[in-house]
Symmetry: C2
Subunit: 196 residues, 2 copies
């Protein structure tokens, strides 16, 4: 069994995102990422199958947290209250390292179609995780899809605000995400009707 390097995943992600920004996604090799993170190539491959996989690192964990939070919300909770519980659980797992990564990751994604596609699929996966967990609570199909999309939108908008605002160690992600969800809920009232 290989030795387990504590924090290697996090170091590899940070090293990769920095290299993507400095020299572009295509030009960055696994060897460079490993070197920058101070680990061997075989350590890289114990954590990720390739450099793109590295960007999915958080997705599975995030999906699980979102779905678990929804599943474990009180029985009588409204669809939106269940989504809020999922968002709160996922957001609570995000610390200062995630916050610092935000703007750097955003820049890397903006510069690469391949990363944009990967990032778009990530959003679809998160929405599906929430929609599935809501459907399992008996929420009707259209409502479950709508609430899942609202959840993703709230997470993205809250994360953007969190990582773009003044750094303050005590400032956590969850309140930003829940405020974004409340903004979106309020916005539903101003959609109007579809008819002429």
């Amino acid at each position: 069994m290989g030795r387990w390097e504590p924090g290697a995943t996090q170091r590899l992600v940070v090293a990769a995102v920095d290299l993507f920004n400095e020299q572009g996604y295509d030009a960055t090799t696994v060897a460079q990422i490993a070197e920058r993170a101070g680990v061997t190539k075989s350590t890289f491959f114990r954590h990720f199958s390739d450099k793109r996989e590295l960007l999915v690192a958080g997705q599975e964990m995030l999906s699980t947290l979102l779905a678990d939070g929804i599943t474990e919300a009180p029985t009588g909770a409204s669809p939106l209250a269940a989504v809020a519980a999922g968002l709160e659980r996922a957001a609570s797992a995000m610390g200062p390292a995630n916050r610092e990564l935000g703007p750097r990751l955003k820049a890397a994604v903006a510069a690469s179609t391949e990363l944009q596609e990967r990032d778009a699929l990530k959003s679809v996966g998160l929405a599906a995780a929430m929609t599935g967990a809501l459907a399992a609570r008996g929420v009707p199909d259209a409502t479950a899809h709508l609430a899942g999309e609202l959840g993703v939108l709230a997470f993205k908008r809250g994360y953007a605000r969190w990582s773009e605002t003044e750094r303050d160690e005590a400032d956590e992600l969850a309140p930003h995400v829940l405020a974004a969800l409340e903004d979106l809920r309020t916005a539903t009232a101003s959609l109007g009707v579809a008819g002429p």
Copy 2:
């Protein structure tokens, strides 16, 4: 100037999707797609830069139609009425060929991560086109994002129902998409509040 082959785009898309289903996306070459469509490779490259680009074929046109419909909606139209106008314009451009393509494309996408990523980015692009057109009408940020996502969800759900139902030439896409939008609007009322 090369000769313009009428319908070549459509033939290439159908040939490609069929080949993706028969033998997988990775194993399919541009030469095979061109041969199946009865055109030369250089004709392929006059239409698309590569095989993946082929799947984006409709995206730009669709984004333009959605945005134009929203932009040209009457001044007093609600955000949702503007989205409905965009959806109606885009849906009206879809005929029997699009309908037949639906299930085949769905199967090809389900079998390929690369196509799933491309497809996810397409949804993000359509939402952005609608959100941008709504923002240009003065719709506040959160409402514009929400309405853009609702529009994409309605288009997808309406398209799925249309292409999965019994074939009837007279059955058009637009009513399915508008019904899906109305379902989602109704669903906003059952989201509840986020608080406990």
